[in-house]
């Protein structure tokens, strides 16, 4: 498929989805290579990001459309709950633990924080920033937590390389 056509396909897919579609998925759907997808998406990004109310973003190993922040007010009038997400310091810390230690159990999170984390975990689950993913094979079979797809969107993270590594955190 030539790039011009591929661009339209990507637009349609991203519009339908309304959230991130992974590069791999885009390649699978269109039959193009991931390299071609990346080229077409960058091309689209240039076109979109200058003249429109919506922009194309590279997020969580894929691409998505988002509204430009300057138009958020109008969107929030229509969907006020979209602006309701509030993140406390403790929720951000629990989220960091899950990000770096995933998959991780509640007991492990508690051990790192030195304090019970039931509240922040519930908030993060409610806001779809984390998800449960299987159970750990230890007595009691506790649930394991991971960050969710929404996590990458909320924090605008392109992919894993966009997060400082655990070792890098120390050097600062």
């Amino acid at each position: 498929m030539e790039t011009e056509e591929l661009k339209k396909h990507i637009e349609a897919i991203l519009f339908i989805s309304g959230k991130t579609v992974k590069k791999r998925k885009l390649a699978e759907l269109t039959g193009a290579s991931e390299k071609q997808i990346a080229e077409a998406a960058e091309c689209l990004q240039n076109e979109w990001n200058s003249n429109h109310g919506i922009i194309l973003e590279e997020i969580g190993g894929g691409w998505q459309f988002s509204t430009k922040p300057e138009y958020a007010d109008y969107v929030l009038k229509l969907y006020p709950w979209k602006g309701n997400l509030k993140l406390s310091k403790s929720a951000a810390e629990v989220l960091s633990i899950i990000l770096y230690k995933q998959p991780v159990t509640k007991a492990e999170i508690n051990a790192i924080r030195g304090i019970d984390s039931q509240g922040p975990i519930a908030t993060l689950l409610k806001n779809s920033l984390i998800k449960t993913s299987g159970r750990k094979n230890v007595p009691g079979k506790p649930r394991l937590f991971r960050v969710s797809e929404n996590f990458y969107h909320i924090f605008g993270i392109k992919d894993e390389t966009d997060i400082p590594s655990w070792d890098e955190m120390e050097e600062e």
């Binding site: 509204t67 951000a92 960091s96 304090i115 019970d116 969107h153 924090f155 955190m169």
Partner: protein
């Protein structure tokens, strides 16, 4: 109280307080002066209200610090001293890890603030382009016109002579004797009233049960074909003959 606790931050847990004390004393996180930290830690929890749900954690940390502190005062050769050194190293590792988590939490909060107004739909198009109906709006118009034209539906009332199943059964049996295949709609057309059609249907089911006829319908709402069941009849005649 050396002004330590002026403008005290809120501590989430004991590690949080410990880290703050280490930083505030300009100590190396990997070389904590346990005795100084312990006394400050105790001063804090005695002087400040501890969040009730975290009181246990603060107290158990205080116990740990006191234990390490006292063991470290023993001669270096003792087992307790060695154990305390190990516990101190473990605590320092935990503290270092907590420091990284805090930093990363701050980083996330910063990213979050910058991203708050990038909104996305988060769900697929409500409108499903692929959901094409099996008829058009013109078909709807036709269906409606058909129903309105067919006004007998609307005003039908059940009055007039009663219809008995026996009568209809007999009619149906006679009809089927002369015609091997009959359409249900033909039979119904003879008396297009709902009561008659209902009784007719009962009669058909009755004969089908007695295996006098077989009924056949290709798909729902299509024509029902009623056929004389010759095989069954033949069988019965055979049986009669045997008698």
């Amino acid at each position: 109280m050396n002004g330590y606790f002026v403008k005290l931050p809120v501590f989430e847990g004991p590690l949080d307080l410990l880290l703050w004390l280490v930083k505030n004393n300009n100590m190396d996180i990997y070389d904590i002066e346990i005795s100084r930290i312990t006394s400050q830690f105790l001063e804090y929890i005695l002087a400040s209200p501890i969040p009730p749900d975290a009181a246990g954690e603060f107290l158990s940390m205080a116990t740990l610090l006191l234990k390490i502190k006292s063991s470290l005062m023993l001669p270096k050769e003792t087992e307790e001293y060695q154990e305390a050194v190990e516990e101190k190293t473990l605590l320092e590792d935990r503290l270092a890890e907590w420091e990284k988590i805090k930093k990363s939490g701050e980083l996330l909060l910063e990213k979050f603030r910058g991203r708050k107004f990038f909104l996305r739909r988060d769900e697929p198009f409500k409108i499903e382009v692929a959901k094409k109906p099996n008829f058009s709006v013109f078909d709807l118009a036709e269906i409606f016109a058909g129903m309105i034209k067919d006004k007998k539906n609307l005003f039908e009332t059940v009055t007039g002579p009663e219809i008995y199943l026996e009568d209809v059964l007999k009619e149906l049996s006679d009809r089927i004797k002369n015609h091997p295949h009959v359409r249900f709609s033909e039979l119904a057309a003879a008396n297009p009233r709902r009561l008659y059609i209902a009784v007719l249907l009962l009669a058909v089911l009755n004969l089908a049960l007695k295996r006098e006829i077989s009924i056949n319908q290709k798909k729902p709402f299509s024509e029902i074909i009623i056929s004389r069941n010759t095989a069954a009849r033949a069988k019965r005649q055979e049986a009669n003959h045997g008698n």
